[in-house]
């Protein structure tokens, strides 16, 4: 009998027995192995029995023996391939877990060897890299030998495959998986130039990842997606995004900014320019960079190269990550003081001053812009409602840090050059969050003209209320008004909130904050509508109280003052004073939009003798009759029916020709008043919303 015949006989007997009497089968194989220790099939059969029974320890032991004694057997390699595949996959089924457990039972040295050999057998770069990564993760000592070369392989693969975007599978593997292993390994000696290269690669990837749009290429060219798109810093991470060549799960990079910052901190520590490794807050990085800038002329080229990157990342902090369900925050003029009379004086003076300068055409030395620039925004306060933004203090700190970073980047020529170079190569123009930050910053600096052009570039991505706010700050009320009405047109009126706590918080802050004139608002209907109404009020307030009589503006002011009543009570009394002085007041929309009971009462009183017998022309037909006494228009019996139907007014509406008798008018007024009182319970925001929509043209036209 030949040796092979013997072995076949022994294995055959074992196979026959394995289902009925597995112990006997094993006994046969143990015997067989002592007879023919060099026979592979006997051991493979032993392994198969243990593996099929999923007995981890004994299967592992046998695999170990096979790996050591029969390293060239294809069956061994098949097993190893299956096991390493299970290691790489995230499959959770029982068999995959068994295979992983099996691998764990092997001695470290064998695991290491097995992975290395398995790696050698891979021809696909990505697969090979994943395999090697398994090795590096398990055996930190192997990083010294293989880490850098794996990195180079991945970076080479990227250029060989001619991948344009830095967000590709090779870069992902390198930056997220390999790089941390390399730079965190204390035994690695890495030249600074290599670290800078890695830093740069990592930054490209993470920034590319963060700013990747749904339309992949440019965030600015992306389609409008509502508020989500306006979110600075790409909270589009919540969307499914698969990097070509990777699974959806491994395509997901959580907290990219944090990770980038980690790498920055480690690289910083390794280059010994960042001091303590543990400190990695933006503020501290900035502080460190400031110190470094003192020595800038003596710094080596590499450091000059590196500096702008962290500075740039610290800009990022201007917009702390907001959860995706939240809306973006925008920086606007603070208009909460619009109800105060004092503001009236100050505001009008300021803008009169500006206007004068504008008229002079001295653009360069013009206006508040330069004044504020010189002050670097010092003293400007940014208000945030604590209730709306729990982390408001951090947010403001971050904004300051970012501003300082920006200044720092532009404080040295070398830095600026390098920074511009990086910006160009990273196409920072298309980074929405950076653009938004820059816009916020120039708004903060009071350079509204610049801000406007920036906002126009941002186009659909930035809410028009910011444009409106800038126009307002520049005294361009008509444009401001146009933009605001555009915003209101897109809003849905909300039910008024019962307690206006958030408003009150802001208001108390306003009183104490001396130069408080900016605020951060979340982009929701709830907060934007009040802002729009305040901005409209601010525009018309100035016009209403000029020397010249402007009943229309005064009327608009009264309508707008209803909001947040009795905030504007003082201002309302001022309008009443003005009406009394004029002795008459004409505002045909009065009964359409004024539902405030206090105001209605006041106007009813004005008509009385005690009230000064002010001649009020508040009904549409009255005004037109007086102003425009053409008998050719309208029909006889229309009366007030149209009055109470909102949205049907126009400049030339029908009216009753034969009216005009004082007594009749009085009766109409009384009836209208009575009806109006019954409207007091209407949703004020709906009324004001209607006002903005229906009277859009009149509103815009009545501003210069």
């Amino acid at each position: 009998m030949s040796a092979q015949g013997d072995c076949e006989f022994l294995v055959k007997r074992a196979r026959e027995l394995v289902t009925d009497d597995p112990w006997a089968a094993k006994a046969w194989l143990i015997t067989a192995r002592t007879l023919y220790p060099a026979d592979f099939n006997i051991q493979y059969e032993m392994y198969t029995i243990e593996r099929n029974a999923e007995r981890t320890a004994s299967a592992g032991r046998l695999l170990y023996d096979m790996f050591v004694n029969f390293p060239d057997q294809p069956a061994v390699w098949r097993e190893i391939t299956v096991i390493t595949a299970a290691l790489r996959s995230d499959c959770q089924d029982k068999h995959a877990q068994f295979l992983r457990g099996l691998f764990e039972t092997l001695p470290g040295r064998v695991q290491c060897e097995m992975l290395l050999k398995a790696t050698e057998q891979c021809f696909n770069t990505l697969e090979k890299a994943e395999m090697l990564l398994l090795l590096l993760r398990r055996f930190p000592e192997s990083v010294v030998q293989h880490g850098v070369s794996l990195g180079e392989t991945l970076l080479d693969a990227e250029s060989i495959e001619d991948l344009e975007s830095p967000v590709n599978c090779f870069r992902k593997l390198f930056v997220c998986d390999v790089l941390p292993l390399i730079i965190n390994n204390p035994d690695m000696r890495l030249p600074a130039s290599l670290l800078y290269k890695y830093m740069h690669k990592a930054a490209e990837f993470y920034i590319g990842y963060v700013t990747r749009g749904p339309s992949a290429d440019s965030a600015l060219q992306g389609t409008q997606e509502g508020v989500g798109l306006k979110s600075p810093g790409g909270l589009r991470g919540s969307q499914r995004y698969v990097i070509d060549g990777l699974t959806e799960k491994s395509s997901l990079v959580s907290e990219p900014w944090e990770r980038l910052l980690d790498i920055l901190a480690i690289v910083g520590a390794r280059c010994e320019w960042q001091g303590d490794k543990g400190s990695r807050s933006y503020v501290e990085i900035l502080q460190r960079m400031k110190e470094l800038c003192h020595y800038l002329p003596s710094l080596e080229g590499g450091d000059t190269f590196l500096l702008p990157q962290p500075a740039l990342f610290s800009l990022r902090s201007s917009r702390p990550t907001t959860p995706p369900e939240q809306c973006p925050w925008i920086m606007l003029e603070d208009l909460a003081s619009v109800y105060s009379e004092a503001e009236l004086e100050r505001g009008s003076n300021k803008h009169a001053h500006k206007k004068r300068k504008l008229a002079d055409g001295r653009e360069k030395t013009m206006s508040s812009d330069d004044e504020d620039v010189s002050g670097k925004g010092r003293g400007r306060h940014i208000l945030v409602s604590k209730a709306e933004m729990p982390g408001w203090a951090d947010m403001l700190d971050s904004f300051r840090t970012a501003r300082e970073s920006w200044d720092l980047l532009h404080s040295h020529e070398a830095l600026e050059t390098e920074f511009n170079r990086i910006c160009a190569s990273w196409k920072t123009d298309s980074w929405l969050w950076l653009r938004i930050f820059l816009t916020d910053m120039i708004i903060y600096q009071g350079q509204y003209r610049k801000a406007l052009s920036s906002l126009h570039q941002l186009a659909s991505f930035q809410p028009p209320q910011q444009l409106a706010s800038c126009h307002y700050a520049l005294g361009e009320y008509r444009l401001a008004c146009e933009k605001v009405l555009e915003v209101v047109g897109g809003l849905v009126p909300q039910a008024p909130s019962p307690g206006k706590t958030s408003e009150e918080v802001t208001r108390t802050r306003t009183k104490f904050g001396k130069g408080a004139d900016l605020r951060l608002l979340p982009c929701t209907s709830k907060t934007i509508m009040p802002f729009c109404l305040q901005l409209l009020l601010a525009c018309f307030k100035l016009r209403a109280f000029t020397e010249n009589r402007d009943d229309l503006a005064l009327g608009h002011v009264i309508v707008l003052l209803q909001h947040d009543w009795p905030q504007g009570e003082a201002l309302f009394l001022k309008t009443v004073d003005k009406i009394c002085q004029q002795g008459s007041f004409q505002y045909e929309n009065f009964f359409n939009y004024v539902t405030n009971i206090d105001m209605l009462e006041e106007f009813a009183y004005l008509r009385t003798t005690e009230g000064g017998k002010v001649q009020l022309e508040l009904l549409p037909n009255q005004g037109i009759l007086i102003k425009n006494p053409s008998p050719a228009l309208g029909l006889v019996s229309q009366e007030f029916n149209t009055l109470l139907l909102p949205g049907v007014q126009s400049a030339d509406r029908h009216h009753t020709v034969t009216r005009g008798i004082t007594k009749g008018v009085k009766e109409d007024f009384r009836l209208a008043m009575e009806r109006q009182v019954s409207r007091c319970g209407e949703n004020l925001l709906t009324v004001l919303h209607r006002f903005c929509i229906n009277e859009k043209i009149i509103l815009v036209q009545s501003l210069p």
């Binding site: 009998m1 030949s2 040796a3 013997d6 006989f9 022994l10 007997r13 009497d21 112990w23 006997a24 094993k26 006994a27 046969w28 143990i30 015997t31 192995r33 002592t34 007879l35 023919y36 220790p37 060099a38 243990e50 007995r55 320890a57 004994s58 592992g60 032991r61 046998l62 023996d65 050591v68 004694n69 691998f103 764990e104 039972t105 092997l106 001695p107 470290g108 040295r109 695991q111 398990r138 055996f139």
Partner: protein, 461 residues
Amino acid sequence: MSDIRHSLLRRDALSAAKEVLYHLDIYFSSQLQNTAVPVVDKGTIELVEEFIFHVPKDRNVQPKRMNSLQELQLLEIMCSYFQEQSKDAVRQIIFSALFSPQGNKADDNRMAMLGKLVSMAVAVCRVPILECAASWLQRSHAIYCVRLAKVLVDDYCSLVPGSVQTLQQIFSASPRFCCQFITAVTALYDLSSEDLIPPFDLLEMVVTWIFDDPRLTLITFLNTPISANLPLGCLDLTPLLGLVRWCVKSPLAYKRNIKPSLSNGHMGKLPREMPDSEGGDRDSKPLYSKLHLSVLQVLMMLQAHLTEKNLFGRLGLLLFENVAQLVEELARLVSELNPLNATKETELSLDRLAQALQVAMAAGALLCAREDLRSLCSRLPHNNLLQLVMSGPVQQPPHSPYQPGFYPHIHTPPLGYPPRPASAAHSTLPTHTAHPAHNTHSPHPTQTFLPGMNFPYRPIR
């Protein structure tokens, strides 16, 4: 000594026995302070025999006898004594003084008392007594060991159904005792007759013990200095031969004992039925199959131990004469049965014999040449595997790195293994001789292949 005797004679049986124990304690404690190996002198033995086992010294003295209650009280006193005496050496010498067979008429009483004491120790799990009993089983002649084993089997495997659980649990308390107990029961039940087939409960317990931890069978061997001269006629160092006998003979022995009427219609099947009263329908076949596998695994482990102790090829744990005797017994069994009625059983028995012989030779447990086997097994019917084992493997090509018949890797730690855990396991070995308080798993070298065992290394995470 005679002073003591006189004072003892005046006492009642129980208090005299207590007094003897007290005397022994003081006597041996002081002896142990002067000499490492105290001698149990004749006077002491006589004292023990007269006052504890109540064998009259001279015909004039009426022997005092203890009633059952007094005897129970004495057993309790002994139990507590061994439990509380903290010095292992004192315990051992006193146990020896009390229970070492002397080859006289006192031995019957002595054995009866020992049986009751050990049985009681099993019931209440008195580890010191079990350890002493383990030593006793090592030193005493096999005849006495078998008697003690029989008492325990009767108490725990035959009398009360289910009480085997109590015995089974001492596995964790005193593995050393278990090992010796297995050796004793395999010596007792040699399957030579119907009466000498192990009761099912006993078999199941032994198989469970060994299958759970095959190293159990090697404990005595590993803890005994090789140079020690074993007392004549004592039990083997391991139960391996007895276990091999069980596995090899069981198919035919059970077949022989089955009643012809029952085998009708069950051709081709091994007898499932036990002739014993307590296990009529329980199938012992898989138990023997498991046991056989465990035996082979133990033999493989043995190779590592022998190599490690530099004894490979120098110490045969299975003596050739014993194996020859086993083959003889098997041949007789085969001829007793009509071979045509027991083809399957014969085949199984011979397969197991061949496997045990081959693995034992490969492991260095059986030192003989294949030619010796050929002449030995010539009386047996033909069997393919046995033929293969007798002729040996076909020589491997010369370039093969392997030595024929010897498997290098699985039993010796391969080079480059992380050394620490293995050496740590080894370093625990010497402690066995000093104080054999074993955990179930840890104290043995773990580099051998065992199902369900961990490797002696930890994967690096």
